[in-house]
Amino acid sequence: MHRLLERVYQDHRQGLYTLALAVTRCPGRAEDAVQEAFARLWSRGATPSGDPVAYVYAAVRNAAIDQVRRQPPARPPEVASIYNGLPADPAALAVTAEQHRAVREAVEALPAAQRESVVMKIYGGLTFRQMADALGEPLPTVAARYRRALDVLGRHIGGAQERRHA
């Protein structure tokens, strides 16, 4: 069980941290959430009955939600993006500064559940089945939410680019 958890952590370190950050919107709390989730998982020691990846994502998400409940964000909330700033050479990422800004704003403006679904699918690489297991929701609900999120992002990013070109 412990080696399995360790492997999931090594393989999904970035995705788990990004999910925790998407929930808490604070790097320090995201780090604490991942640590707390694994501390609980290590101490539990039981082998998950379902998909271990979904199980770990669920644990990190729950720990992140607990973090937010325990310490509501200060006002005005300091929102930390899940994205880094552009590197010195944005061409290396094939993302223009304009796209970077538009995507960042669009993802941050998504409702929490949609943002989490984008993070789990795109940055965690989870299947819809794993997402459904992690969220404890039916697969069609999870898939539909993800598609809605992409629609919203598409409209937001397209609108932002049109406004800048106008």
């Binding site: 640590q35 694994f38 020691g45 880094n84 993302v95 992409l150």
Partner: protein, 145 residues
Amino acid sequence: MPEDIEALLERMPLRKPPATLDAKVLPARPRGRGLVGWIVAGGAAAAAAAVLLACWLHEGGEVPPAPVPTGDEPAAVAEAPEPLSVEREWTHVTYEGVVAPEGEPMAKFRRHVVRQLEWIDPADGARMEMTVPREEVILIKANVY
């Protein structure tokens, strides 16, 4: 187009987890017995088992037959690398007659117990076995007619 949005999202540079995260997460995991620990424990157990078994055999005991797998033993699971443990115990009682240690007649029985513990590491199939013989004397008040 959703595919375009997905491709764009994938190209975005993510905020990296802090370097301190590994140090916070991984040391919290329970540590198994290291290789040296297994060797030391195995050696000690083997030595103890050899001495005790020799004493027991000297007293006329018989080595119990190897247990036949019944299929009830837990199987090694690839995703549960915690060592599996199997425990077996054999008991044999011999009657050694009537004794009177404190003037009162007692029936004397000697109970021989061999306890065998086996650990199997499902990750690589390594096995460690420990055999612990023990014996105890039981005195039961005898009715002499």
